[in-house]
Amino acid sequence: SDWTLLVHGGAGSMTRDTIDAAQDAAARAGLNAALDAGSAVLAGGGSAVDAVEAAVRVLEDDPAFNAGRGAVFTHEGHIELDAAIMDGATRDAGAVAAVTRTRNPVTLARHVMVDSPHVLLAGKGADAFSAEQGIEQIDPAWFATPERRRQLDDMKARKTGSFDVDLKYG
């Protein structure tokens, strides 16, 4: 077999100049775990779309990254998650925006791709579709971390806008 897998895992404002040893180790461990998950699928003859879903689910569950658990807060103090998936063999695609109760939004995006006639679902409707599909639901508190709350509080204290890309919390 011949397969390849790449992953990226954004951790907000941390760069090589600002990251500490614990954060560095956590990020690297998370990326390695995602590679393990995706590689296992591909090495077993699985499809590319199965592999990217598996890898992203691991990163969504890892609080080191801004997705799923560990995602950033909105201005109002909520967490709204976005995800997309696309199969290059068929150019089928699915996506969700501003979902709040699905543990793994990438899996919900895949259900949009496979089990709906649509490409992009958003907000309450997407949450409802997720529940109807039997996808794992979770209390939104599960996504929250103290560090992301601190970053929101810091941003509000600075009275800067959410589109200050130099601050780059997200």
Partner: protein
């Protein structure tokens, strides 16, 4: 933002991206990650792309689809297409990065900002993780 691109043993590619967006986002703001063609795109005739960065600029450039279009229509190598599109996006004011794989298994990282966390693996046993 997190994401993955893959090429399987059958030669098919796929892409996925997931994010919480920007800290303090308001008014129902949505970035590029869930917009097919902006932050995520896959086409066996070209490549699979997952992006992270200043979403509004990636949406305007149509980054993921633009990379694939240059490969498919102009025959551009993956590296050339990715770097050119990221450079154009930077000219608009947007910085970030993409991961790309083609149906032949070629892989590319391209980014215009620090803080890019990347990992790569292949059937040949190649394995790397880095913070760029």
């Amino acid at each position: 933002t997190v994401g993955a691109v893959a090429r399987d043993a059958a030669g098919h590619v796929a892409a996925a991206t997931s994010t919480g967006g920007l800290t303090g986002k308001r008014w129902g703001r949505i970035g590029d990650a869930p917009l097919i063609g902006a932050g995520t795109y896959a086409d066996d005739r070209a490549a699979a792309v997952s992006a992270t960065g200043a979403g509004e600029y990636f949406i305007r450039e149509g980054v993921a689809h633009e990379i694939c279009a240059r490969v498919r229509l102009a025959g551009a190598p993956l590296r050339e297409a990715a770097d050119a599109v990221m450079a154009e996006t930077r000219e608009l004011g947007g910085r970030g990065g993409v991961i790309v794989t083609g149906p032949d298994g070629e892989t590319v990282y391209s980014f215009t900002t620090p803080g890019m966390y990347r990992g790569r693996a292949s059937a040949e046993g190649a394995r790397s993780v880095g913070i760029y």
